[in-house]
Amino acid sequence: MDTWVKDMRKLNDIVDYCQTLYDDLNFTAARDWKAAKPGRHVIGYMPTYVPREIIHAAGMLPLGVLGGGDNLEVIHGDAYYQSYICRIPRSTIELAVTKRLNFVDGMLFPSTCDVIRNLSGIWKLLYPDVYSRYFDVPQNFTSAVGGTYYVQELRELAEGLEGISGTKITDEALNRSIDLYNKNRRLVNDVYNVRQVTPWKALSWEVYLLMRAGMVLPVEEHSQLMTDYLAAVQAEDRPKRDNCRVIVQGSFCEQPPLNLVKSIELAGCYIVDDDYMLVNRWLQDEVPTDGNPMENLADAFLNYSGETACKYVPEREDKGKFLIDAVRERRAEGVIFAAPSFCDPALLDRPMLSGALARENIPHISFKYAENSGQMQPIREQAGTFADTIKLWGEA
């Protein structure tokens, strides 16, 4: 008997465990991991994408920092930001100044938008002794230009991490890490595929929690958890509802409250794809595990990474194609644009994407949220009406 079958956990246990991780704003799991062995380090990162393989190969734990959600009281963070700036930077600062991130040895701020970019500078001013890096990715996608630049950026990132650990990241170690993350991405895709086929079994809020667990657990444990979930969910007998199938788009940075994910489902929409935690599946294919690993990671980014508002689309006719392809592949009936208030990337992108959807006659609606939104009734009503409309169209 395979070990995973022997050790297989019940669905409720898995989901409860993920919920505990999600609720824990002290990141106890990551703290425990660090404390378990002397010399361990934890590197925080914000959305949207960082190559976690490199952190892992340095013997470190990548820790996704996705804001404070709806359970964190933001007291200090508001003093750092004007009212018209989104929530995630202020709650992230709150996590830091309340010492919830005091075990983190470094922070990475990806090139998602100007708010995260400038947060990297705030970090440097607040914590000058902690390693922090604005992590840039190329917007030129040819290997001789963007690729060369990116490989060097990856090397500089690796050197920064080596400075913390005092040990060199070898190609062998990096290739091993790539292998582990390849496996992790396969499982993430399996979970998404299972949800696509049987969304009444793999409920979206559970899948959400399962993906969130990947932000705080070592990759090996997260992969095991997904394996367990996949087995448990198949065995589960859950009623199939007459819901429509939607893709949620625009939530790639500041995360919606879990209640919002639940509300969409309760309102009659099965979420069959989303862009919640893109880091889990940003690279759309296996990264080779031999040869030069930095070049392989760069190549993967240039040639088969996902698409989101923070990435330039070089050709006009390709704008929105990624989303339309997802609608087709996932057999979605509509798209819900759910973007954080004041989120420039998502909100500036929205008119182009909705134009592309309209040209294909794909129904869509949009609303805004904040990570601490409490009132779900309006969203539930909007999503409910959307579901009804789609059903009516479908029957017409």
Partner: protein
């Protein structure tokens, strides 16, 4: 003064004195809009591009004109037309939360892209997306490309997150210039690239930049002969827009320098829309862009109180020439274009922005820092409260904060701004009494 002319400005319907430099700039701008709106007839190709990271010298190498959507938005803001354009764009589905420059531009397009001379702007032949210091740029040109369907070339300028320009960043930008931009410009314009032509333009740029820096630094005098924010936006005009690298720009800055030399000799304060400033009471450093829709009213709130801006960060958004001495360099043409882009103000990390402001406060003997927080602009605004706090801690000088918007009149509340400014001036007075800040002489 010998080189002044009495003219009447329609906006204010009042007599003001215009210096020769102002008249020259006005003529340059009018001529540029004339060329832009007659581009087809003149057989000229047009590149739309942004102020930060604008490659005017390079564009000129291809006999192309340079059209800057931010400047058009500003023009529409100052003419009080942007409010309606923004609302039109919102009706078209653009979020109320995003940058109003973008919406003013899109709203203007829907109305036929009318230039300040009343004639329609041409459809650009190329969108030159110099992605420098602002994320919105990337989306803005994707949106324009969606509408115009014209060719778009991206120049990705990496953000200097660690406060330094690395070789990797410079090489990356140079490579893009060589392998993407220049071939695209050659193809679109039909003109072959000549690096010596570029060198010559860069030589002219450096000359103009020397004089611009001299002008900006003249604010170290007491009283300051210039206002480096409200006046500053006019002084940077030629260098920010379509004229860097031209003999016209060199001449403009020579004229301006001459005028300011005279003001210093006569111990005169800056020119304001109501004539020369009287007593200089407060010397300020300002961070953030101005409000354009009520520009005069906004400025008046300062000069009426005798407040002069002696240094501003906004005037560095299209290039930083004073802080670390950057000049366009004809001997290293492409590298210097890369460094220019990499060094624009909003492409610098927050700690560098704080260092710059701290140095301005010191060098220009300012009483304090005023932040104009712009609702539209995350690139500037996200982090400004941290900048204020750090500056106060480091210098002991008072910092204050007002909130407006660039071109959306809904976010300019005169009473609020005035109240805050008055309290701020009182705060400076209190500091002075407590011996915390040097009294302007």
């Amino acid at each position: 003064m010998s080189n002044q002319t009495q003219i009447t400005t329609p906006a204010a319907s009042q007599e003001v004195i215009k210096d020769a430099s102002m008249l020259k700039q006005k003529a340059m701008i009018a001529d540029n809009y004339d060329k832009l709106t007659r581009a087809k007839e003149l057989g000229l190709k047009v590149a739309s591009t942004y102020v930060p990271g604008n490659l005017n010298e390079l564009i000129m190498c291809f006999d192309m004109l340079n059209n800057l959507p931010e400047i058009n938005a500003i023009q529409n803001g100052m003419r009080k037309k942007s409010g309606g354009m923004i609302m039109d764009a919102e009706k078209m589905g653009h979020s109320e939360d995003v940058c109003t420059y973008v919406k003013a531009d899109i709203g203007n397009m829907a109305k036929g892209s009318i230039a300040p001379n009343g004639k329609p702007m041409p459809v650009p032949d190329l969108l030159l997306l110099s992605y420098t210091g602002c994320f919105t740029f990337l989306k803005w040109f994707e949106l324009l490309r969606d509408q115009y369907g014209c060719e778009t070339a991206m120049l990705h300028v990496p953000y200097t997150g660690d406060g330094i320009i690395t070789d990797n960043m410079r090489d990356y930008v140079v490579k893009q210039l060589k392998e993407v931009l220049i071939p695209t410009l050659e193809r679109v314009s039909g003109v072959k690239f000549d690096i010596d032509r570029l060198r010559e333009y860069l030589r002219q740029s450096a000359k103009a930049e020397d004089d611009l820096v001299w002008v900006l630094k003249s604010a170290k005098n007491t009283p300051s002969p210039i206002d480096a924010y409200f006046g500053g936006v006019f002084y940077i005009g030629p260098i920010f827009t379509a004229f860097r690298g031209t003999p016209d720009a060199v001449e403009y800055y020579q004229l301006l320098r001459g005028e300011i030399e005279q003001r210093i000799a006569a111990r005169m304060g800056p020119v304001t829309p109501d004539g020369d400033l009287g007593e200089e009471k407060y010397r300020l450093v300002v961070e953030g862009p101005p409000n354009w829709t009520s520009f005069r009213e906004f400025w008046k709130m300062f000069y009426e109180e005798g407040a002069v801006v002696v240094a501003s960060t906004y005037t560095k958004v299209g290039g930083v020439y004073d802080y670390d001495g950057f000049r366009h360099d004809p001997d290293n043409p492409l590298e210097s274009l890369a460094e220019y882009c990499l060094g624009c103000y909003t492409n610098r990390n927050l700690p560098t922005r704080v260092d710059m402001i701290e140095q301005y406060l010191e060098d220009y003997q300012a009483d304090g820092l005023l932040v104009n927080s712009i609702k539209s602009c995350n690139s500037f605004s996200a982090g400004q409260l941290m900048i204020m706090r750090t500056i106060e801690e480091r210098t002991g000088k008072p910092a204050a904060f007002i909130e407006t918007d660039l071109v959306d009149p809904r976010y300019f509340s005169p009473a609020n701004v005035k109240n805050r400014l008055e309290s701020y001036f009182q705060m400076i007075e209190q500091k002075r009494r407590a011996g915390g800040s040097a009294r302007a002489a």
